[in-house]
Amino acid sequence: MKPTDISAPDYFHKVVDCQWACPAHTPVPEYIRLIAEGRYSDAYMINWKSNVFPGILGRTCDRPCEPACRRGRVEDNPVAICRLKRVAADFKDDIKHRLPKPGPKNGKRIALVGGGPASLSVARDLAPLGYHCTVFDGDPKAGGMMRSQIPKFRLPDSVIDEETDYILDLGVEFKGGQRVDSLKQLLSENYDAIFVGSGAPRGRELDIPGRKEAGANIHIGIEWLANVSFGHVDKIGRRVIVLGGGNTAMDCCRTARRLGGESVKVVVRSGFEEMKASPWEKEDAIHEDIPILNYMVPVAFKHVAGKLIGVTFQKVRAEYDDKGRRNLVPSGEPDETIPCDDVLVAVGQENAFPWIEADCGIEFDKWHMPKVDPKTFVSTNPKVFFGGDAAFGPKNIIWAVAHGHDAALSIHKMLSGEDINERPLPEVHVSSQKMGIHEWSYDNDISADKRFKVPHRDKVVALKDIRAEVELGYDLKLALGEAQRCLNCDVQTVFSAPLCIECDACVDICPMDCISFTENGEEDDLRQRLKAPSPHHDQALYVSGDLKTGRVMVKDEDVCLHCGLCAERCPTGAWDMQKYLIDMVQAGSTCQSKARSAA
């Protein structure tokens, strides 16, 4: 293998698994260290800069970072990154004075359709640069699906208000209760750019016999959740069936439990394991006495005299063809009818753009989705940009934020007369953490603690009040314990071949057997000859240049604890622990033209 080019910004970025997995590339270890130091406001601001909604995401994020967390490969569970984010939000001081100020107006006007996370992220990035941002939303308050679809027992209004206000206070104009009905009309108002962040607002229908006849007691999940959220609905029947296996279904069933549903069941077509809902959301539902029944396909709504009495299901089992594709085939067991009073249908969401006229210059693909450039988020109309669920279908908040940053950068570049396809490289800072002979600026003593559980409100109390937040969040003692589980993956092991005398000290001390000195070879061959097995080929091998004996140093990044013992035991300083910070480019980043400076 060729020597690893550690100056390529992506190399060390990938080693920070959580940050690499995060769509917004939040510098996770950096803010976790600040939490451990008690610097909650600083930790919050790092989050705010990159993911815009730390308090909201700290409660609701889909956490792509956690399955990626290195700790999950070292022991049973990853660091509770998401809930530590909430700690920063919960314990910060007033940070208003640290937020950017509305910039002097530059005369450019931006219209943002929809007041959810994507639009608000765009506004957050553009308003301080002097753009006049106008956000339109059909609902009276900002937040979009964060406010309408996520139950209050998971995300209180106060948190949404606080974090949407931080953005609106940047001089962003919010036009609540004004749904945009015509893009043509909006285009005619001569905005300099339009951003569409209208989400995936339509719940998918379930067209099976009885749907119309029993319609009074059959509700579309996201609409029903919005109605609950705005106080239009405050009760449901005693026996409730929720159809669907995603996170919306989990929100539906738990909401139903709080509105009078004594016997609430979730029924899914697939197997329990393949359900789309996040594992922790399934756990929370089961904890609230909601059984999840799997491999049952709804075939008919049963009704008597226009009144729903139950749902009939066909029993299926999974079969896999030779290509590994799953088919659900009837198992041959008799159909089962489950009696119920109400049904909540949460079988998916769809995009809908009835308000975009055919002659607006926006082309759609065969799935009726707008054609959007995945890098610049521009549509086929160069003035119109898309982001969030409106761009590529339903994902989650953190993706909407990431799209927002990229779209804002495109808009800023376009309106500055630059080519939006030229994306500046992020700036990278790498600096040694050495403080003394065996002293580092980070805590390199690895905690052996297991993942700490987040305290929950007592179930009896929680189920009585739909607005009582179930998760109480870590207290400071638990937060410190959890923060110390972080392996500081951004403090990188940096190797200098010319300094190495091949004394083997690093090999001998490495607790994870990450380091090998061996003859060079092709990657597949090298992976066979390392000191410990190397099962994760997506994890890089760090290969040095030739050493004096003709061998090379090979480090498998996979399960490195970043404990720095290799550097402590190195007599010549060939190993050093260097902190890697990457500054993702956002609209208005100071050094947009500068390429990057890596060590």
Partner: protein, 351 residues
């Protein structure tokens, strides 16, 4: 010196030996030696050898004297017996322990100061008495703890860190061990674990006095130009006569070497040593030849390493003394001290 404890986490895919232990289970406390010390690599090699042999840690007694080398038993086999004796007195403590309990595996760890100066006599007598042990000298040629004076194994003409030339002749412990009748003699280098680990494993399985001289560069005081015990010097002048694989149990010897280049030596306990010859003329059963070979190559400035001599049918001190099979420490008082009547009888027989 490292202040944090080595994390308990280990690689999730680490292999386990027959006892279900990983090599991490054979570790001791974290080393307090200087960063990069060759002794730490010897420690790692002992750990690896014991892991590969699936040795039960409680069946090992590690005994040492004084010095950097003699600190190392704290860093391996944390669950074994240990005795850190007076300077240079490791061999007599080990001999005593061995006589009292012949069932343990004895690992004597010493250095060039401990064995070639203050304990030279002790070293000599434990070897000539054929105590069943593995005697490892971690040989760096300097007194590291007192800041780098030449030790008795420093070569004449080699230079100290301050530039002083050594005018005294060096003691070659391997030559002495051969001369005194050690039945397993090897030399190796801390920077070459592929050679060292099998040598330690073979020595542990050898019945009789096994001696291994391991050249172990002192990073702080003896790793400069002009030193003959530096990483660079040893790598440049290393003349390995053979490579060794230790085979325990019945598995067949995989012959992926050129025919005639592998010599199989069966030891007393059934373990087999597969020796890959690197020097076609070298015969590890020829004590006299080994001594001559060593002298010739030393004169050329070469450091001969590998398994230099082995007598697979060796006997040990217990055989010579015709002691009982039962370890003395498991006998009761009556058996050990049968009373004055028996003593009178013995005395009478000697009159």
């Amino acid at each position: 010196m490292t202040y944090i404890a080595k994390p308990k986490f280990h690689h999730p895919g680490l292999k386990k030996n027959e006892l279900g232990y990983t090599h991490r289970d054979y570790e001791g406390k974290i080393s307090t030696l200087c960063a990069g010390c060759g002794h730490d690599s010897i420690t790692a090699s002992i750990i690896e050898a014991c892991y590969e042999l699936s040795i039960e840690p409680h069946r090992v007694a590690k005994i040492s004297g004084i010095g950097c080398s003699s600190k190392t038993p704290d860093y391996f086999l944390g669950n074994s017996h240990g005795f850190n004796s007076v300077h240079g007195r490791m061999p007599s403590v080990l001999t005593g322990a061995n006589l009292a309990n012949r069932d343990l595996i004895y690992l004597g760890v010493s250095g060039d100061g401990d064995s070639a100066s203050i304990g030279f006599g002790q070293f000599a007598h434990s070897i000539r008495r054929a105590v069943n042990m593995t005697y490892i000298v971690e040989n760096n040629g300097v007194y590291g703890l007192t800041k780098g004076q030449f030790s008795a194994t420093a070569d004449r003409g080699s230079k100290s860190k301050k530039g002083v030339t050594n005018t005294d002749n060096a003691i070659d412990l391997v030559a002495i061990a051969l001369q005194l009748g050690a039945t397993f003699v090897a030399r190796s280098f801390s920077g070459d674990k592929t050679q060292l680990v099998p040598l330690i494993a073979a020595a542990i399985r050898h019945k009789g006095a096994s001696f291994i001289d391991v050249i172990s560069p002192c990073i702080a005081f003896n790793n400069h130009a002009g030193s003959t015990k530096s990483f660079d010097y040893v790598r440049e002048h290393n003349d390995a006569v053979n490579r060794l694989d230790v085979l325990v149990g019945r598995e067949p010897i995989s012959v992926d070497y050129a025919p005639g280049t592998v010599q199989v030596v069966e030891q007393h306990d059934g373990s087999r040593l597969a020796l890959r010859k690197l020097d076609a003329d070298y015969d590890p059963h020829d004590r006299l030849g080994a001594m001559t070979f060593l002298q010739k190559h030393a004169a050329k400035g070469q450091i001969v390493t590998g398994l230099l001599y082995v007598d697979p049918d060796a006997e040990d001190l217990h055989t010579h003394l015709d002691t009982v099979e039962t370890p003395l420490n498991t006998m009761d008082e009556q058996a050990l001290c049968p009373g004055s009547a028996v003593l009178d009888k013995i005395n009478a027989s000697l009159r």
